[in-house]
């Protein structure tokens, strides 16, 4: 989608020696312009920003206290109103407002999604760089470990580990982060192998640059876009994994407000209160959809080779 505009006369007139420094907001401007051209990417971006705003502004905009019990208003259907206000999406088994709980639950999804993806990404990129660049024994060991980890379906691995290690928000983030790096290591290693033997790397050696510097300055910038694309997709997968774990009672503490736990509650009363299971699921779906849309768009923009594929 990114057709370069012809250079303006002003740009042509600038001589190489006197390149004007682009203002800081130029990349942001370009990002937003590219986003504006893609309805799907824009939708994804708006959803992600919206959910993050919900997570940050939570208490300020939620109509009720998400923890407030109201035993006289238990299992009230969507749209129920009493003297403490309207319960737009109904109430749960303790009379708590579903909408407020969904807003409060966004925080866990956002934090888990972002932090564990960041941890997994950093570990995966580093190991991928090391494996691809140095090759040999290091590469073989790292790759065999990834083979092993990849052959246990991700969610089963995570479920088993949290069964052993225990629950809690920090534990959950660490588990998802420390098991999620495998895909990054694989992809980044592949990209490094493609780049490693190119002429400009040889040139960097020739002018006497050291290996750590070559990795950081010449290889990393050329492989990082695959990592970023992957990270966007992984955010969705991680949020789904978190909700599955919480649903099974293996994720966060039972007192935390999360969408997965809300679904677990709702399942108990599925015969009478459909709204308890319906709305938290819609919240998860919309959030993950945002991450998927945004990730697809990022791939189109950052990786011309992958354009149109999925």
């Amino acid at each position: 989608m990114s057709i370069r505009k012809p250079a303006t006369t002003a740009q042509i007139a600038t001589l190489p020696g006197q390149v004007e420094r682009a203002p800081w907001y130029r990349p942001v401007q370009r990002f937003l312009a590219a986003l504006g051209r893609s309805p799907v990417g824009l939708t994804g971006f708006i959803i992600i920003v919206g959910i993050m705003l919900l997570a940050v502004l939570g208490p300020a905009i939620s109509p009720h206290d998400p923890l407030d019990n109201n035993l006289r208003a238990r299992f009230m259907p969507p749209g129920f109103a009493n003297d403490s206000g309207v319960f737009l999406l109904g109430t749960d088994q303790l009379g708590r407002d579903i909408l407020s709980r969904i807003i409060a639950g966004s925080k866990v999804s956002v934090v888990v999604g972002l932090v564990s993806v960041l941890i997994a990404g950093v570990i995966g990129v580093v190991l991928g760089l090391v494996a691809g660049f140095f090759g040999g024994m290091v590469d073989a060991v790292i790759m065999r470990i990834t083979d092993g980890l990849l052959s246990i379906p991700f969610i089963i691995l995570v479920i088993a580990i949290s069964g052993v290690v225990g629950s809690g928000l920090v534990t959950l983030i660490l588990i998802l982060g420390l098991t999620g790096w495998v895909t990054y290591a694989r992809v980044i290693r592949g990209e490094v192998l493609k780049v490693r033997s190119l002429d400009y790397i040889t040139a960097a050696y020739a002018i006497g640059q050291r290996r750590p510097l070559i990795i950081l300055r010449h290889i990393l910038p050329n492989v990082i876009s695959s990592g970023i694309i992957l990270a966007a997709t992984q955010v969705g997968i991680t949020i789904l994994a978190e909700s599955s774990l919480s649903f099974l009672g293996l994720g966060v503490e039972a007192t935390t407000v999360t969408w997965g736990l809300m679904l677990a509650d709702g399942r108990q009363y599925i015969n009478s209160a459909w709204w308890m299971t319906t709305y938290p699921g819609i919240a998860i779906t919309i959030t993950v959809l945002g991450a998927v849309f945004f990730g697809d768009w990022l791939r189109d923009v950052l990786d011309p080779n992958m354009r149109g594929r999925s």
Partner: protein, 305 residues
């Protein structure tokens, strides 16, 4: 060809070995497994006795060798809860999980192939748009949530399908739809893009100009060549299917390996968890091995030396 299969087999064995290491060390993430297994009411002396009885006081290397020796013969130790060999419990449930995976994978293919082909042939039509929406929402939706929605509609409101168990044949319908829809969503996108790529090739134009009708061009020429990426993704997504079955089995109380795993984790029945993990991994590894071998038959151009 034979050499390729031999190399693949060696890698498979190494991978299984790695999985055994992961499974072995995973239960030791908190130091020694007794910390996980022993009920909180146990006195220190009881814990110590349990530790000796299970051999957890020996050096870790020795423990692993013993674990491996026994695992090769299918012995993962006794289930603490059921007081029966862990492997026996796993094998009892395995059939149900394979059955559910098979029906879901078939449903996924039956939906995804026609949908992907039609949306590739009628690109940018309303049906292409709808199938894209289906694929995106189907991927983003938590599988178990779709299961809960089906229960609300078909069991609670319409009362036509059983919500749990495996006592009547109809009980498999909802778990199958739940997993099959997720599978279809993941496969229809790759079918569409693989078909789009193939339909632009010269040999498709040639086939048309030979006077072949659209149907035989699409089925015999295009689909056959588009199958390779589809089979790749299908094999990988079977891993997603196995993972998803763990949660979906719990939602529908389907007596499969996944539900056994969750039950065992909840009561800290470690031997069963280990045996179950290894079976899941083994199934997935063998699927991928089969996919790799299948390539050779799908595309005679692929030469493995």
């Amino acid at each position: 060809m034979r050499k390729f299969i031999a190399t693949r087999l060696v890698y498979t064995i190494i991978t299984v070995f790695m999985v055994s290491l992961i499974v072995f060390f995973m239960v030791r993430l908190r130091g020694d497994p007794i910390a996980v297994m022993a009920p909180p009411t146990f006195s220190e002396e009881q814990v110590a006795r349990m530790r000796t009885a299970w051999g957890f006081d020996r050096p870790v290397g020795e423990q692993y060798v013993i674990f491996l020796q026994k695992a090769v013969t299918g012995d993962f130790g006794q289930s603490i809860q059921a007081r029966r060999p862990a492997m026996e419990l796993v094998l009892e449930r395995l059939g149900n999980t394979y059955l559910l995976s098979l029906t879901s994978a078939l449903l996924g293919l039956v939906i995804a192939l026609p949908l992907g082909i039609i949306s590739a042939l009628k690109r940018n039509s309303w049906i292409d748009f709808l199938s894209t929406v289906f694929a995106s929402v189907g991927t983003a939706m938590p599988g178990f949530w779709l299961g809960l929605m089906l229960i609300i509609v078909f069991s609670v409101n319409l009362r036509i399908l059983p919500a749990f168990g495996a006592l009547e044949p109809a009980a498999i319908i909802m778990p199958t739809i739940t997993l099959g829809v997720g599978m279809a969503a993941r496969l229809s996108r790759i079918t569409r893009s693989a078909m789009l790529e193939v339909m632009n090739q010269d040999y498709i134009r040639t086939a048309y100009s030979k006077g072949l009708n659209r149907r035989s061009v699409v089925v015999q020429h295009a689909l056959r060549n588009a199958l390779i990426p589809i089979v790749t993704i299908f094999g990988l997504q079977l891993g997603w299917l196995l993972g998803g079955s763990v949660i979906v089995e719990s939602v529908f109380s389907w007596p499969g390996l996944g539900r056994l795993m969750i039950e065992s984790i909840n009561v800290r029945d470690i031997t069963v968890v280990q045996a179950g993990l290894l079976w899941f991994a083994l199934s997935f590894i063998l699927i991928n091995l089969a996919v790799d071998v299948l390539y050779v038959f799908l595309d005679p151009r692929i030469q493995y030396d």
